[in-house]
Assembly symmetry: C2
Homo-oligomer: 147 residues x 2
């Protein structure tokens, strides 16, 4: 196995979060939390993950401030994993990934989960990169300034 | 180590792409390609990855249609890894991740790489999830319809 590398000293804002997110299960836990799941058993049922692996991933997300632990909303003795502001801020990341998967990993007409606006039931618009004036930008319209 | 799981039968468009992307190095290779890198040696220099690991990640991205192989633009005997339409479509995913990293993984004033519009030099706008009418949506404004 390759040595586990950390990106915590990187000056690239794409790299640093990968120490927290760079594992498929972690992104799916966040997806489930955005969809409203809060309890260990709910995540386990949704993901079919072994308890020890799910435990480790959740602990990592708590340690990194993506989840906050809270007493169960219904007064039962369970703890709930609630997305922090930092965790909720992953919504555009998860949605952009969702749309990429929708476009490139399904056959036309193949059944798939669909993100819709709650009120209207209409699919959300494509997530785009835009300039300050609203113009849609592609990779060639941008460049990275190194520090 | 946990058994490697595939999400290819999942009905969730967040899950399916993780078989291709669910590794931090892979996302950083795509980041570098969006930033203009094309050659094995360029990726290796940028990422500091062992050749065998970089080779395997690049082969995976070619096999999954994110990169296409092309003869070197300058006529030299090297092959270049060129983002396909599918690969370029990752720009909003990488940019949303970049902005999340920028917001949550750096101290205020800490030097970091910055994505700017090429012409104006101005930072790109925040990537947002929007309804068809342009309204910005949060997680609570949406829901997932299962197939």
């Amino acid at each position: 196995m390759p040595k586990r590398t950390t990106h915590e000293e990187s000056s690239c804002p794409v790299a640093r979060p990968l120490d927290v997110l760079g594992d498929g299960w972690t992104l799916l836990i966040v997806r489930d939390a955005i969809d409203g799941l809060r309890r260990f058993g709910q995540f386990q049922k949704s993901l079919g993950l072994a308890k020890n692996i799910l435990s480790a991933r959740l602990a990592n997300l708590v340690a990194n401030g993506v989840f906050e632990l809270a007493p169960a909303a219904d007064g039962s003795p369970y703890q709930e994993y609630v997305l922090s502001e930092k965790g909720r801020a992953l919504f555009p990341v998860i949605t952009a990934l969702r749309q990429w998967g929708d476009r490139w990993f399904f056959e036309e007409g193949e059944p798939r989960a669909l993100l819709v606006e709650r009120e209207s039931g209409a699919p959300v618009a494509a997530v785009e990169v835009r300039a300050a004036n609203g113009r849609v930008l592609g990779p060639d319209d941008t460049r990275v300034l190194l520090p």
